[in-house]
């Protein structure tokens, strides 16, 4: 196989692996939006939070990984509950700008607390997977990417089963479809809001852990990965779970390809900006994304 093709395949494979993590984080974002039409502008801080708590429990408190990871997720759930109950529930029904700003507000608090507790230096992150690359045909693949991809696939499958078959999952879908009807049928809408925030913080924390181990370290620049959610959800459609998954992988591949082929021409950094260029184009052409619902407005 020609080296150009190997290079291309390598970019695509890495892109799919990173994109799967985006899908996972975007899933949490979409769930919140579907349940309560709140757009979370602080996804980066939720990712940071998961990565830092995982780092603190594994490397600082020296807990075994099997205890540390569930503990991190429990802390993430608590954060989700605090955010929903303390910050967003009082603002139900307020104008969009208020809801947007309040998510910036708590993101700032989370960042401040993390900074105060552990400082902003880069922390080494434990390698959860071995780093010896293996060969898939002629293409070298790093196990970190493979395992993160598998983890994400398993999680996404688990979520699909949860939404399709469990009672709570059905209640969440019902709330997303029509809050009033769901409420009149006995669904606790507030409970669904809280649950969607908990799922969002948990998937963001998992995303943070996976990204941390892919990069081998955590620092505050991890938060930038959280912002990649926006291109993903706009491409997929703000209120579509399937869109989040497809969009995540597409954006992951796209940013890697643009980084791989355009960086040498344009001089670096294309990878960071390409998803946002795509975002603007999609907004101009098809604002509701690939699978989103088209809104019709009346006076």
């Amino acid at each position: 196989m020609s080296p150009q093709l190997v290079f291309l395949l390598q970019l695509v494979i890495t892109g799919v692996a990173v994109g799967a993590v985006y899908s996972l984080m975007a899933l949490g974002f979409v769930l919140i939006y579907k349940a309560s039409t709140v757009v979370n502008f602080g996804p980066g801080e939720l990712v940071l939070f998961g990565a830092y708590v995982a780092w603190a429990t594994i490397l600082n408190m020296k807990l075994p990984v099997m205890i540390a990871l569930p503990l991190t997720l429990v802390v993430a759930i608590l954060l989700g509950l605090v955010i929903e109950r303390g910050v967003l529930r009082p603002l139900i029904g307020e104008p969009i700008i208020s809801v947007i700003m309040v998510t910036f507000g708590f993101a700032s608090v989370v960042r401040g607390v993390l900074n105060m507790s552990w400082g902003s230096d880069t922390r080494p992150f434990p390698a959860l997977f071995s780093s010896e690359p293996f060969h898939l045909g002629p293409v070298p693949v790093s196990p970190v990417h493979l395992w993160s991809f598998v983890t994400v696939l398993v999680l996404l499958a688990a979520f699909s089963v949860f939404f399709k078959f469990s009672l709570v999952g059905t209640a969440m879908r019902a709330t997303a479809d029509n809050q009033q009807v769901a409420q009149s049928l006995g669904v606790s809408v507030k409970g669904v809001f809280a649950l969607s925030w908990c799922i969002a913080t948990v998937v963001s924390a998992l995303g943070g852990i996976i990204l941390g181990s892919v990069r081998g370290g955590v620092d505050f620049s991890l938060a930038d990965y959280g912002l990649k959610i926006f291109p993903v959800v706009i491409l997929g459609g703000l209120d579509s779970v399937a869109g989040a998954i497809v969009g995540g992988i597409l954006i992951g591949v796209l940013e890697n390809l643009s980084g791989g082929y355009l960086d040498p021409i344009l001089g670096g950094g294309v990878k960071e900006v390409a998803p946002f260029v795509v975002l603007v184009f999609i907004l101009m052409i098809r604002p509701y994304g690939l699978f989103g619902r088209v809104d019709v407005e009346r006076v």
Partner: protein, 347 residues
Amino acid sequence: MQCGDFRVTYADDERIFDTRLPIVGIVALLGLLALMPLVAGTYWLDVLNRIGIAIIGALGLNILVGFTGQISIGHAAFLAVGAYATAALEAKAGLPFWLAIPLAAVVTSLFGLVFGVPSLRLKGLYLAIATLAAHFITTYGIIHWEGMTNGVLGFNVLPATIFGFPLDSDARIFYLIFALAALAVFFTKNLFRTKVGRAFIAIRDRDVAAAVIGVSLYRYKLLAFVISSFYAGVAGGLMAHHSRIVFPDAFSLLVAIDYLAMIIIGGMGTILGSIYGAVFMTLLPEVLKLSATSLTGVYPNAFGLIASARDIVFGLAIIFFLMYEPQGLVRIWLRFRSYWKLWPYAY
């Protein structure tokens, strides 16, 4: 004292101030400000200058977000374009500052015109996300268009000079900043007595209804972006001359959030609110710094925690205001004033 609203002529209706008291107050305030460079120390003059610049920037953002209802998370990008355009016009084209700042503001307005195009198709959340993306694209452009912007190194800006007199200290540039800030407040106040300002407010309140009664959304939404970015261009140009250095990190996303917080905490859709918000957000870190200095005796590490303490207090302030005082400091001030107006016979 004013005890009612007795407007019997059109001239009465068009007056900016109902009574003479606010005019006296404003003249007194301007007089007090004019004396500031003589009495205040360098530190407080620096703070005052930053407040003056923030007032101009916050007014611009308030016109767009508070008065026209177009949510923009891209204000830092406007400031960056203003600052870079000023610095580049002076360094590369050799223009004096009194030409460079207005030209830079025009450049920023054109940039705002392009920035505002998505607003014709999008609103609310989608517009917010589009402006967020535009912020990142602008930052990328500034860092990578090295021929024009010097990339990450940025510019060192020479002091502004009037008739050979360099404005190279805080006391000297103070008058320039506050003259422009006063002009900005005056212009904004008058803007909302005109057709344009009323069209902005109509678009904010219900854009489809505004279009039905004949407000051209196309024209006025873009005009709001143009005016808003003009203010940001002036503020950016002043920033360049105040800090005398321009580099990309000074215009991160956090700056845009700071400005949004200013208008939320001060009061959306009010001119006074932009001023209060600018004062509040500029003083907040200074107050934290002062309290940290006084705490170092008890807790030696206090100074190292300022950055994180600032984030926490800033976030809590936004959350607190949105929950308990969504109309901001202006509302508190109005309540306070009406309480004392009739004191002690409140009823």
